[in-house]
């Protein structure tokens, strides 16, 4: 599993977090190599979002280590983790409703170190608006955007920091088929930029199209790991998901 091409972008070992008696993430281990898109699958409540919250510093782990580019970030404040090159989106879209699209994206890059010169920042914002399909909307208040455009804007904000590692929490959920195709292309193009991605996703066609490898969680534990095609045909995975019905969507 551990590749020889340098340090993995993300290495997680023995990660654990409980809420009262409920162990939401239980002894989780996995590694994500540079440039890889890794799927994080599992039924609702299996601990995927909690895992992302631990990695991004929203929650403190009870135990375990999280290494970003080799540096242990477990328990670090999330603003520090963000400055180390981690960006994410949220399962329930979070955009800054009182600001326009340009300012939303600016929030993503203005606080990174070293600070960008203003002209370069503006240029990067223009490119990102273009890239996610919001060109021409830069002065539009985020509150006025449609659901898909809010998702686009949130992704643009995450990308603004030029992250080394991007965590996407069901970013493709709720899109119609044509939007889905656009979204998949967009995420695929990120890999070409050298961004490493952890993709939490229920849309299996997207997982098949995008993920090099997957791990599957159930009740906080990892129950399967491997190449995407192998994992999705694994009997245990099929059982954990729809109680036996084939995994497809």
């Amino acid at each position: 599993m551990s590749q020889d091409s340098g340090t993995p972008v993300l290495t997680i070992s023995g990660l654990r977090r409980a809420f009262g008696g409920l162990v939401a993430v239980n002894d989780l281990d996995f590694t994500v190599a540079q440039g890889e898109i890794m799927g994080l699958l599992g039924p609702n409540g299996s601990g995927k979002t909690t895992a992302l919250n631990l990695i991004s510093g929203v929650l403190r782990p009870d135990a375990g280590t999280i290494r970003l580019m080799g540096q242990n970030i477990a328990g670090l404040a999330s603003y520090r983790i963000a400055r180390l090159g981690l960006a994410r989106t949220f399962q329930l879209v979070r955009v800054l409703d009182g600001m326009d699209c340009r300012e939303n994206i600016k929030a993503g890059l203005a606080f990174q170190r070293p600070h960008l010169p203003a002209s370069e920042a503006e240029l990067r914002i223009d490119r990102l608006l273009d890239r996610v399909g919001l060109a021409g909307h830069d002065r539009r208040p985020a509150a006025d955007l449609t659901y898909i455009d809010r998702k686009r804007l949130e992704l643009a904000r995450a990308l603004a920091a030029k992250p080394r590692l991007l965590l996407l929490d069901e970013w493709l959920a709720g899109l119609n088929p044509s939007e889905l195709a656009i979204g998949i292309d967009l995420i695929r193009s990120l890999r070409a930029d050298g961004i490493t991605i952890v993709l939490v996703e229920h849309v299996m066609s997207a997982v098949r199209a995008l993920c090099d490898r997957c791990i599957v969680m159930s009740s906080g534990r990892k129950i399967a790991e491997g190449a995407t095609a192998d994992v999705l045909s694994d009997a245990a995975v099929v059982k954990a998901y729809l109680g036996g019905v084939a995994v497809d969507a």
């Binding site: 404040a77 979070r94 009182g98 600001m99 606080f111 904000r157």
Partner: protein, 314 residues
Amino acid sequence: MSTRIAGFGATALAALALLALVPRLGNAYYLALAISLLQYTVLATAWGMFSGPTRYVSLATTAFFGVGAYTVAVLGEILPWPLVLLTAAALGAIVAGIVGLSTLRLSGVYFVIFTFGLTELIRQLVVWFEVNKSRVLGRYVFVNITQADIYWQLLALTAAVFLLGWLIARSRLGFALRVIGEDETVAKHCGINTTFAKVALFTISATVMTLVGAIMAPRWTYIEPSIAFNSMISFQVLIMALLGGAHRLWGPVLGAVPLTLLFELLSARFPNTFTIILGCIFLLIVYMLPRGVAGLFEKLSTTAGGKPTQRVAA
């Protein structure tokens, strides 16, 4: 853009020069009224500088005002006046820093209650200290400061506060606070040290409030804790800033001016029912103008086909 700023700066300077002439009118009543107007303008603007973007409602205005006033009562005779002001500002900043670090992790209603409790705590501490250590119940303020001096100092502070607020709004710190006000979790994930940003602005705002208290202290000849730490100030400033609209630097002044005049009138005519009227005004403002007068102006200028102003939800 820069010509607009230059024009605005020139207008502001002219206005300042005109306002500086008020003590020359030689009318004691107008001067006293002008002092009240400036006092509340600075307090409400300083309040809005922190609470506007972060949406943390602070009832600690009185605490800082009182710290400033008491510094003068204690040190006024001992130190030269500029040093007294400097000491007051430093004390205010230190108290604000400590309070900020320990409370700004609290959210919403807990923060409101804490800041209210803080005022009471500081007042009780001062009472305890005075009774047990200094063995006095109140202090006479012997400083050689005239009403006109108070007015000019407040006017200078007003100018400084608006300049500071304008600079902060254009700075990275100002932008960080707006992001925090929108969504603190997102702010952190954007790399904003949210605690630092909030404590920094809380401290700046509190230092200004402390200076107002210090500058105003010579207005009284006798100070005791219940005068310096009058919690009505916190509520009045809150109402003024909300009426004006705390999401804009120039918002609170739009509330401070009419309400100072109104309070002046009401407290003179209805001294006994004043607080009840105050409460009713508060309710009216929250129901009828949730975004304050500033919000109303923005709405009018947008619907009238004017240039839509930037949206910042209050």
